[in-house]
């Protein structure tokens, strides 16, 4: 079947089997390999993207279910003004090591800050609690989000 998606603001389509998982649509059909696959069971969050602006584990969404919807991936975080403050924060605070969980972590962080610009440490930890990182012990990820919260991107009017 053919599905139509808006991916990082761009209209895209793909011919997929009805059972194809969204993570495979994004990676294998659209060639956006920044979204990772990690566990099969919705536990690790390496595959998190924004589905209509809300973090979703793309290994647990069928591509067909995303037909007509809007997807944002890590590739869409940087814009003409530069890196998203979340990306900047992860870099400055050493919020990543192997980088495999990073896209999902950053996308959830972006959503958190969009909805709660000044989160407490506990709120950050809770927001990220559905995602695993095996390298950082989370400490620097929390600091990265705090950095991003303290340095919001200046809105261009």
């Amino acid at each position: 079947m053919e599905i139509h998606l808006t991916v990082n603001g761009e209209a895209m389509s793909a011919e997929v089997e009805p059972r194809t998982l969204l993570v495979h649509v994004i990676r294998d059909h659209l060639g956006l390999t920044g979204t990772h696959w990690g566990c099969d069971t919705s536990n690790c969050g390496a595959c998190v993207v924004h589905l209509d602006g809300i973090p979703a584990k793309s290994c647990t969404v069928l591509g067909a279910m995303a037909d007509g919807h809007s997807i944002s991936t890590v590739e869409g975080m940087e814009n003409a003004d530069g890196l998203d403050p979340v990306q900047e924060g992860f870099m400055r605070c050493h919020g990543l090591q192997c980088g495999f969980c990073t896209p999902g972590m950053m996308l959830t962080s972006r959503w958190l800050l969009d909805n709660n610009p000044d989160p407490t440490e506990h709120e950050i930890r809770e927001a990220l609690s559905g995602q695993l990182c095996r390298c950082t012990g989370y400490d620097n990820i929390i600091k990265s989000v705090q950095w991003a919260a303290a340095h919001p991107r200046e809105t261009v009017s």
Binding site: E17, R19, T20, H24, R27, L32, T33, G34, T35, H36, W37, G38, C39, D40, T41, N43, C44, A46, T73, V74, E75, M77, E78, L83, Q87, F90, M91, R92, H94, L96, Q97, C98, G99, F100, C101, T102, P103, M106, E121, I124, R125, E126, L128, S129, G130, Q131, L132, C133, R134, C135, T136, G137, Y138, D139, N140, I141, I142
Partner: protein
């Protein structure tokens, strides 16, 4: 809260800052590799495609122990998108059904006679896409004759135990090895003479490293040129290449192993797995590139697990708490094949470093290895070749002794720690610790923790029935494998090469034999070059992971990159510096002896205005400048570093936990970690390495366990069952450091990657047992899930390597 020392984190004067804002040498520097990772532009195994690429999938055994009666692949082969199905029988014809392990055994690539653990590889399907390959797995019909599984390691040597390895002629039991170290007679005499001795039975349960990225391979054997290109999630690409050549008979010069960006390793990506071999065989059969990416269950159920040590430890001391001796008997569960990925000449790796950080004269260990119907492995997960088990043993024993004697555990440790003037120190089992100031590290950790205050708080809370625990661990690591006298991998000595070239414009490339899996080599090694040559780190490109483009060496695991390859990088840069001196002397028309080095520049002694920068020298070295007889042009060098000894980082950790006595839930409130790994090249990266290991320790102590039920079913086969710590289970870490350089490393640096994974589990466990003290608990085994804590409070802690089969009186819910 992060507490940094007053002294510079690098242990030396601050480096000058480059035009790019980076330290020209040691110091905090943002990572070069992040530029791609932050944008989703990493290049992990599954991101790589090749034209015409096919996809492989592995059929896994549902049984732990079963004879294969027949395999019918006809329906799978009839699938329109399936290109080939490979079985053990087919591999047998190619003499590839079995492959050597790194521990003088063999393991099955695909099962031929029987399956020996749940999840074992039985067949390999190659299809046009990954979904079709999985569909076809369902179409393979395997008839099994189910056998009684050998699950409980403690029964593996019983006369009636099911035989795991009956394919080995003449084998009648599950015994792999007996091995001992230390002086038994001296230890026994010390125990005889001691005022007090205590013992503990401890299980360090089977765990799994579970990197976020599973294992995988993309292999292409070019049918025309005979060139094999294999992208592999490998921590040791050169070792993999050589082993492929030895195992498959492919000429080594025709093999190119590329280890791309790796989504975490932790020792999981050191061994050669059946899937890697099958991708190669699949490509030979189909004449197309074949990609295999492991699913999460296969990763957890079949690839290199860790630990699984059943230890009976004893410690002897004088009445005032002076330790006299330690002895230990270990039953090591190695699974179905002896495939420990470790290079030492000792079957228990570096376990006999178990005398730890203390000064006592006698020690002895005996280790017995057994086969069971579980996946092979045993040395993985940042264990530094079994130092995790060794540190756990001694740190639990010291805590048990402190309880017995009524001496505070910090005080008892302080009394017995090795003193700075004792280094270099030879342990009772033969290890030569290079340097250390142990009391300083423990003092510092206690100061950060506010140790006395914590004990006061604990006493006050206990009085009103509120339970908290304070746990201490002091560890000595041994990393940088390794000296040729102790170590090799299939005969390959553990030396690592390094090559460097400075281009005419003064920009440099350095080629490493080691491979990052997140440790930040591309940054750290550029800083080493900057430190030695004054070339800004942004002008140094670090090349690694591709055997066609890097010198030979044994890879990144067991915290060996900085101790071995870091030394090689320093040596190679110093050779370039020496060559630059000759070029500068020729250009300045003076004797090389008249020049002195000032970071980034050779200049005339007493006339520093007269000099040449390293960048000017690079251009001169490629120019028409006449160089002295015998001096070739260009500015490059290579080196091979043979480590003379391990480096011995150490640290003092303190963990504070709160126990909910109503539910058995343990929460880590604080974790204080003081690490000494010598000078820190990039303190930010070092700290990140420590953080990751601390979370690992909390995970192992409280959550992670690969247990098996009596049928041999793996109870940790998915992330729904194998629980890893999330952001909710770990606290904000409180770190500190001391700096004691290694006397034998060119930069004084020691490894650090595994320090925290090695050192933190006993701190957490000691804290939990401390919290449980009012309940009379002397010991219980990890992981301290609420159920295990609850059972321990009832005085009947469970064996955590088996399914909970609680036959005791039910107290749950009616107490």
């Amino acid at each position: 809260m992060t507490i940094l020392d007053d002294a510079p984190a690098t242990g030396e004067a601050a480096a000058p800052i480059s035009a790019g804002g980076n330290p020209i040498g040691f110091g905090n520097m943002l990572r070069k590799e992040d530029v791609r990772f932050l944008r989703g532009r990493g290049n992990y195994l599954d991101d790589i495609t090749m034209p015409g690429m096919l996809h492989g999938a592995i059929l896994a055994s549902p049984y732990a122990h079963a004879r294969i009666v027949s395999i019918d692949t006809s329906a799978a082969l009839a699938h329109p998108k399936v290109k080939a199905v490979i079985t053990g029988a087919m591999l047998d014809g190619l003499k590839l059904a079995w492959m050597p392990t790194l521990s003088a055994d063999v393991q099955a690539v695909l099962a031929t006679d029987k399956v020996r653990y749940q999840g074992q590889e039985v067949a390999f399907v190659i299809a046009e896409d990954r979904y079709s390959a999985r569909d076809a797995l369902e179409l393979i019909d395997v008839e099994y004759e189910v056998l009684e599984p050998m699950i409980d390691a403690r029964r593996a040597l019983d006369a009636d135990a099911p035989l795991v390895r009956d394919e080995i002629e003449g084998r009648t039991d599950n015994h792999i090895f007996d091995w001992e170290a230390g002086d038994q007679a001296k230890s026994d005499a010390a125990f005889e003479a001691a005022d007090v001795s205590v013992s503990l039975d401890m299980l360090y349960p089977r765990s799994h490293p579970a990197p976020m990225e599973t294992c995988g391979s993309l292999a292409y054997m070019d049918p025309v040129t005979g060139q094999l290109t294999a992208y592999i999630t490998s921590q040791a690409p050169h070792a993999h290449r050589t082993i492929y050549a030895l195992v498959a008979g492919i000429p080594e010069h025709k093999i190119r192993v590329i280890s791309p960006d790796i989504g975490g390793g932790f020792g999981n990506k050191v061994p050669i797995y059946p899937g890697y071999v099958l991708a190669v065989v699949g490509s030979i059969v189909t004449k197309k590139p074949v990609k295999w990416v492991e699913d999460r269950s296969s990763n957890l159920m079949t690839t290199g697990f860790a630990r699984d040590y059943h230890m009976h430890g004893e410690i002897a001391a004088t009445a005032d708490g002076t330790i006299q001796a330690v002895r230990v008997n270990v039953l090591a569960d190695h699974g179905a094949f002896n495939a420990t990925a470790q290079p030492t000449k000792f079957p228990a790796g570096l376990f006999h470093i178990f005398t730890g950080s203390y000064d006592f004269p006698a020690a002895h260990c005996k280790v017995t290895g057994v086969y069971t119907n579980k996946a092979p492995g045993g040395v993985a997960y940042a264990c530094s070749f079994r130092i995790t088990e060794a540190v756990y043993l001694i740190e639990r024993l010291v805590d048990r002794l402190s309880d017995e004697l009524g001496i505070d555990p910090a005080e008892l440790r302080m009394k017995n720690l090795l003193q700075p003037e004792q280094f270099p120190y030879t342990t009772p089992t033969g290890w030569e610790y290079d340097s250390g100031n142990y009391p300083a590290a423990l003092t510092k950790a206690m100061k950060i923790a506010g140790y006395a205050e914590l004990r006061k708080e604990q006493a006050e809370k206990r009085a009103r029935g509120v339970y908290m625990g304070i746990g201490i661990s002091f560890f000595t690591e041994g990393v940088g494998a390794g000296p040729k006298k102790h170590m090799d991998i299939l005969g390959l000595g553990m030396a690592d090469g390094c090559e460097m070239r400075v281009h005419p414009t003064g920009k440099a490339q350095i080629r490493l034999s080691v491979q990052t899996q997140g440790q930040g080599h591309e940054t750290t090694f550029a800083q080493i070059v900057a430190h030695e040559l004054g070339i800004p780190p942004e002008d140094v490109e670090v090349i690694h992971g591709d055997t066609d483009n890097t010198p030979f060496g044994l890879g990144t695991y067991a915290s060996r990159s900085t101790p071995v390859s870091g030394a090689a990088a320093a040596v190679v840069a110093r050779r370039v510096r020496d060559k630059a001196r000759i070029v500068a002397a020729a250009a300045l028309e003076c004797s090389a002896d008249d020049l002195e080095w000032e970071l980034g520049r050779w200049q005339v002694k007493g006339d520093p205005e007269q000099g040449k920068t390293i960048q000017e020298i690079a251009m001169l070295a490629h120019s028409s400048l006449e160089l002295p007889e015998g001096v070739e042009g260009h500015l490059d060098a290579s080196a091979v570093y043979n480590p003379p000894n391990l480096t011995y980082p150490f640290g003092a950790y303190i963990c504070v936990v709160d126990l909910d006595a109503g539910t058995g839930q343990v929460k880590v409130r604080r974790f204080i970690a003081v690490d000494d790994c010598g000078p820190r090249i990039n303190p930010m990266i070092v700290e990140g390495q420590v953080h990751g290991g601390l979370a690992d320790g909390i995970g192992m102590a409280l959550m992670q366990s690969i247990a098996f039920d009596s049928d041999g079913n793996c109870l940790g086969g998915s992330f729904m069952d194998y629980l890893l710590p999330t952001s909710m289970e770990v606290p904000t870490f409180e770190t500190g450091m001391t700096v004691t350089p290694s006397p034998h490393h060119p930069l004084g640096t020691k490894g650090v990657g595994e320090s925290a994974t090695v050192g933190s589990p006993p701190a957490v466990v000691n804290a939990v047992i401390d919290a449980l003290k009012p309940f009379g608990v002397k010991h219980a085994d990890m992981p301290f899930t609420p159920a295990q804590v609850w059972l321990a409070m009832q005085g009947r802690p469970a064996r955590t390597d088996l399914a909970f089969e609680d036959s005791g009186p039910s107290t749950l819910g009616n107490k």
